[in-house]
Symmetry: D2
Subunit: 368 residues, 4 copies
Amino acid sequence: MAGNSFGSVFRFTTWGESHGPAIGCVVDGTPPGIPLDETGIQRYLDRRRPGQSRFTTQRREPDTVRILSGVFEGLTTGTPIGMVIENTDQRSKDYSEIRDRFRPGHADYTYEAKYGIRDYRGGGRSSARETAMRVAAGSVARAVLAHRVGPGITIRGALVQVGPHAIDRSRWEWEEIDRNPFWCPDPVMAEQWSGFLDTVRKQGSSAGAVVEVVADGVPAGLGEPVYGKLDSDLAAAMMSINAVKGVEVGDGFGLAAADGREAADEMRMVDGRPVFLGNRAGGVLGGISTGQPLVARFAVKPTSSILEPRRSVDRHGREVTVSTTGRHDPCVGIRAVPVGEAMMACVLADHLLRHHAQCAPRADLSDR
Amino acid sequence: MAGNSFGSVFRFTTWGESHGPAIGCVVDGTPPGIPLDETGIQRYLDRRRPGQSRFTTQRREPDTVRILSGVFEGLTTGTPIGMVIENTDQRSKDYSEIRDRFRPGHADYTYEAKYGIRDYRGGGRSSARETAMRVAAGSVARAVLAHRVGPGITIRGALVQVGPHAIDRSRWEWEEIDRNPFWCPDPVMAEQWSGFLDTVRKQGSSAGAVVEVVADGVPAGLGEPVYGKLDSDLAAAMMSINAVKGVEVGDGFGLAAADGREAADEMRMVDGRPVFLGNRAGGVLGGISTGQPLVARFAVKPTSSILEPRRSVDRHGREVTVSTTGRHDPCVGIRAVPVGEAMMACVLADHLLRHHAQCAPRADLSDR
Amino acid sequence: MAGNSFGSVFRFTTWGESHGPAIGCVVDGTPPGIPLDETGIQRYLDRRRPGQSRFTTQRREPDTVRILSGVFEGLTTGTPIGMVIENTDQRSKDYSEIRDRFRPGHADYTYEAKYGIRDYRGGGRSSARETAMRVAAGSVARAVLAHRVGPGITIRGALVQVGPHAIDRSRWEWEEIDRNPFWCPDPVMAEQWSGFLDTVRKQGSSAGAVVEVVADGVPAGLGEPVYGKLDSDLAAAMMSINAVKGVEVGDGFGLAAADGREAADEMRMVDGRPVFLGNRAGGVLGGISTGQPLVARFAVKPTSSILEPRRSVDRHGREVTVSTTGRHDPCVGIRAVPVGEAMMACVLADHLLRHHAQCAPRADLSDR
Amino acid sequence: MAGNSFGSVFRFTTWGESHGPAIGCVVDGTPPGIPLDETGIQRYLDRRRPGQSRFTTQRREPDTVRILSGVFEGLTTGTPIGMVIENTDQRSKDYSEIRDRFRPGHADYTYEAKYGIRDYRGGGRSSARETAMRVAAGSVARAVLAHRVGPGITIRGALVQVGPHAIDRSRWEWEEIDRNPFWCPDPVMAEQWSGFLDTVRKQGSSAGAVVEVVADGVPAGLGEPVYGKLDSDLAAAMMSINAVKGVEVGDGFGLAAADGREAADEMRMVDGRPVFLGNRAGGVLGGISTGQPLVARFAVKPTSSILEPRRSVDRHGREVTVSTTGRHDPCVGIRAVPVGEAMMACVLADHLLRHHAQCAPRADLSDR
C-alpha cells in the first residue's frame, strides 16, 4: 500500500515538501455532523508552530490552515476533508551547499538511494514540516472522539526527558505544561532544561528527548488482535514521527527487568466495579484497551542539523564536512509533543470507528 | 481493515485458537518459482517449539506444519500459500477454574470487554500459540529475501537481557546463540541466566527480557515515507508480538540522552564507496534502510501466568485470586527470539517487493 | 495489496488449488456473538455442489466444510474464522495431456505468462473450485446481515438467460427456483432450457448465461462514495467470479438507450413515507443504497472446456488441438447462482459494518 | 477502508465538492524520475472540460491544475503528488430550490439517508466535477505506463452508442474521434447523434450512452487472481464513474448468448510466436491480461438533470416536482470518455507496479 496514508477506517493522507508551494492532507472516513472549523484546528497547529521560544527554530511559518472540502455550514459531511497550508517562509536561498551533500543523520542519503532523486530544499518530504498536517488530522480525530465518546476523553502530551535529564514524576502536574516552553509537567526540571539547552545551543550541538502521551477516558475494548493491536498501531504511529527511535507503552522497557509477581496489574472490585490496582500495562492488554489511561512514550534523537561540522560524503563520492548554519531546533523533541498527541488521537479515532463497525457499542463490563 | 493480516504486497493472515482443532495462516503475494517445502519451514518452527529446555513450557506440541496450497513440485506458484498446524496437545481438562476469571496481565478482561465472549481455553486467540504461524510465514519471507537479494541477507535474533541482567556486548559472539537454551550471544551471561531463572521458577514467578534482532545484508532504499517507514512497520511488527511493551531501533531510547555531536553516524569514502562510521541509527534514516545492519530491540514483559496467587475479579464481579499451575514459560522472551526474527523477515520481504514495485532495482549508490 | 482477499472491514481470504489437498478461507472482522455452525454453512455449500443434476459436472465433491477457529460454543467470537474443505475427488490421473497445453479460453496461458509456473492439475488456482469458499464466506456474511439488520434482509439469485434464451420476466416466481435444476424463476423457460442444454451437450459444446441477484430489505445508506461505492464493489465482486464478463445494476445497459424522462425513478409520499415509483436504478444512487431492492446481473461466458476440438499452442510453441473429455458443466452459469448470492452477501456485510463505523445507525428518513 | 482512494500500490485519493473552494487529489506510489508537468496533465483535463460544444454543459470551468508536491525540476520524486483545481465558476446563486428537495435519479436522497447532511450546492461531492481529478490522476498513470512499458502502450476511449443509436463497428476509425464533439469513431453515426441530441435537448430530456475504452500494448501477465483480477478492478473503476450502470469486458453480455464452440479465442503460432485468432475475451483470461488489446465498455444512464418536471419529495416529506433549469449536459456519456480512459490508465499502472513487485519482469512467452 502506498506509504503516505495512515489509518484504515479513519484515514488521512499527507502530501507536500518543506519548500514546495504548500503542504496538505486529506482526512477520509470522518463521521458526519461533527462541528469543525479552521479556528479549532488552528489552535492545535499553533501549539506546534515554530518560533515560539528561543528553544525552537526561528523560522516564521504562520501555518494557516484552510479547509477546502468535507465541511459544510460548520459541520462535517462525511466526505473527505481536504486541508492545505501554504509555505510562506520559503526563502529563496542558495541550496548549492546541500544539493549534493548527504547531511549526517538525515534522510538525504537514503532518499537518494531509494529514489535516485530528491527535493533537497530544506529536507523536502523528509522535513518535519510534514508533521503540521498530522496535527491538523489529529484535531479532526479529537473532534471525532469527543463526538463519539464524549468530553471525558482527553489526550495530553508532555516532555519527560531532555538529553540525560529526566523529570521527577512525583512532581508531575499537568497544568505546568502550559507554563514553560517545553510542555514539561515538572516545573523544577523545566528550569534545569532551560539552562541545559542554552548550553547545548552555544556548543553548536543538539539534544534528544523523551515524549510521553497520555489518553484518559479511553473506553475499554479498542484494538484489533493480532496485527491491528492498539499498541501495535500506536508504535507504528509514534515511530513514524521524524527522529523517533523508540516507543514504549506503560512501563515499557522497564517491564523487561521486572519480576512477574509485580509486573501484572491486579484487580479488585471498588464500588461494585472492577478496578485495576496499577497501570504498568499502560492501558493495553492483549492489544485491546483496558479502560485505564493509555500511556505511550517515545524517544526523539538529537537533531542532526547542528553547527558543529560533521564528516560526510556527497553524491559524487567526495568526502565533505557538513555544518548546519540555518534556523533549527536545538531539541526537536519539544515540538514533537503536539505531534505525538495528534498521532495518538488518530490511532484512537480509527480504532473507535473500527470497534463500532465490528462490535456494537456494548454496556461496559464495569456496569455489570 | 480487519486485524489479522500483516503486510501489504507480501501479506499473511493467521487464524486459530490455542485449544481449537488447528491454527493456520495464508501467505499471499509470494513471488513464483521459489523453492519451498515443509522441511525448510519446519526447521524454523522447531526453534520456537516449546519443551526444548527446562526454561520453556513443557507442553508437547510437535507443531508439524502442512503446506496445503501455493507450492507445486517444490516451487512457489505465486498463489496463496495455505499452511496449517494441528493442535495435538489439547488436553481435555477442566476449564471451570479460568472460565469466568480474568487472569491479571492477560487479555481475558479486554477480550471480554471488546467481544463479550471469549474462548477461554488456554488463552484462545490471545495465546502465544498464534506466533507459530508467524514463524511459518517468516520462513516464507526468508525464502523471498534469499531469492531476490541473495544469500548475503541474514536475519538473526538474540536475547540480550533477562530480568535485570543484560549481556556484556563486548562478548557478543553469534555462534554462541546455538550453544545455550537462551539464544544468548554472551556465554558468560547465559550461565548467569540459568541460575537466575531457576530461582525465578522456584519462587513461582517469571522474568521479562529484551530481544535483539539484526538483519545483515539489507539493501539500501527499503521503506516508504512517511507512514510506511521501514522502522514504523518494524515497530508495529514487534509490538504485535505477545507480551511486548517496547520497541527501539538502533540506539533507541539511548539516543534521547545523547549529544547531537555524537548521535549521527558520520560517513567517509572507503575503497571508493560511501561507508558509515557507526550505526547508532540502526540501519534506518528517514524511514529508509541505509544498507547497514538493521537493528531492532524489543522488551518482553514477564509472563503473568505464575504460581504465586494474584488478586483479580471474575465475570460476575466477584473478587478472586488466580494462580497458574499449568505448564508455562518462566521467561516468554526466550521463545520470542525466533518470532522476532520472523516478523523482521516479513517486514523486509514486504518492503523489498514494495520497493521493486515503485522503484526499479537501481545500481547501488556505493557503486558510483 | 495481495490479491486473494475481498472486503475491508468484513474481509475474507481464500487459498487452495483444485487438485491440492484442500481449499480454505479465513473470514476476518465478523461481529461476535452470532450463531454459526457447520450445518448452516453446509446448506449453502450443498446448493453449489456439483453432480446434482445432469446439467452440472458429475464430479463427486462432498465439499464438507470444517470450521477450525473463530466459533466457540456455537457463537462467533470476533476472531478470524478459519474454514477448510478437503479435496476428496482428486483422481490420480495422467495430466500429461494438459500439462504443457494452453486450453483456449482458460487461464492456462495467462498464469504461465504471469508466473512462469502453474499447477496445471484441474486448473489449479483458476478453477471454479475456489468459489466453494466464497459460498462459505457468504454464509457467514448472511449471518452478519441477519444479526445486524434482522430477518427482513434476503439475498436470492436466479438464472435469467441461458444461451440466447431469456426468461419472460412477467412469469417470475421466486418459488420456482427450487423446482428446477437451473434456479430459473420462469417455469416455462426452465423446460425450454432443459432441452436446449441437452442439445448443447450432445454437440460437445457449452452455453453462456446471465445470473440475476436481488437483495431485499437492504437499509438505505450503504456505500462509500466515490471509490467504495456499493455498486462499484458489487461490480468487482461479480466480475471476480470465474467466467464472468459483464455486470450491470438495475436496468444497466438498458439505461444507455433510455430517454432521460423515463430513466430516473420518481418519488411520492405513501402513507407518510417516501416511496420510489420504480427501480430502474437497481437500488443504488450515487453509489449508496436507496432502500429499494438491490439488483445486480452478470454475464457468464460458455465454459471453454468442451469436447469439440479447439486450436491452441503449447508451452514449447507447438500448435495443438485441445478437446476436453473430462467431467464439466455444460453451463457454468447454473452453479454461479449461489456464488453470486454469496458475493453480494459479502459486499453488503462489509458495507453495513463500514456504515456503522462512520455513521451511527440513524433513524430512517422514511420515519420522519 | 475509507472510500475516496483508488488503487493499492499506485493509489490516488480525491477530495472536494462541486461548489467548494477547490477540488484536488493526491497520487501516491508514483515511480521516481518520470517527466511530469502541469502542461501535460492540462492537456487531458482540457479534453474533459465542459463548454466545448453545444452538447456539453455551458459552465465555464477553466479547470487549471496546479501541482503542489511530488515533482521537482520536472521529474517525479516518488513522494506524493498533490494537485489542486480551484473552483472558479461557483456562481453565488439561490440554492433554496434544491436545498431540501431530492432530485430524482440523483444522490440527494441517498446522501441524506447515509449522512443526514449534505452540501447541496451543485451536487456537492456527488457531482461529476470530481471526475476532473480522475483525469489528472490518469495522466500521471499514463506517464507511469509510458515510463515502464514504453510508448507502445496507448489508451483510447470512444463513444459507441448514444441513446438507442449504436455505431457501425465496421466504420471504426480512431482518427475520427477528434473530428466530432462525441469522440465517435464512426463519422456517419456522429452526424446522426448530432441531430438526435438536438432533439433530445429541445424536448428538455437527456440521453444515455455507451463508452468503450481500449488499451493497446498491454503486456501479458497483469492482474492478481482471484480478487484483484484485472477485469475485477476495471469493473470497479468504471462502475465508480458517475451515472455508470453497467460494465463489460470483451464481448461481455454478448458472450452469455454465445455457443461454447465460438466463445473462446483460439491460438496459433505466427512467425514463431503464439497469436490469438480473436479477442472475444477482451484481453483478459482468468483475471490476467493476455497481451491482446484490453477492451472495456460501460453504460452511462441519461442525466437526471432535465428540464421536464419530475415528481419527487423533499426532506420534510412533502411531494414536489423538480425541473432542472441550469446548465447541464444532455448526454453525460460524452464527457465520460476521457474519464473512462483515465480510470483504465490508473488500473493498469497499479497492476503493472503490483506485477513488478511480485514477479520480476519476465521474458515474454512469445519470445520463446
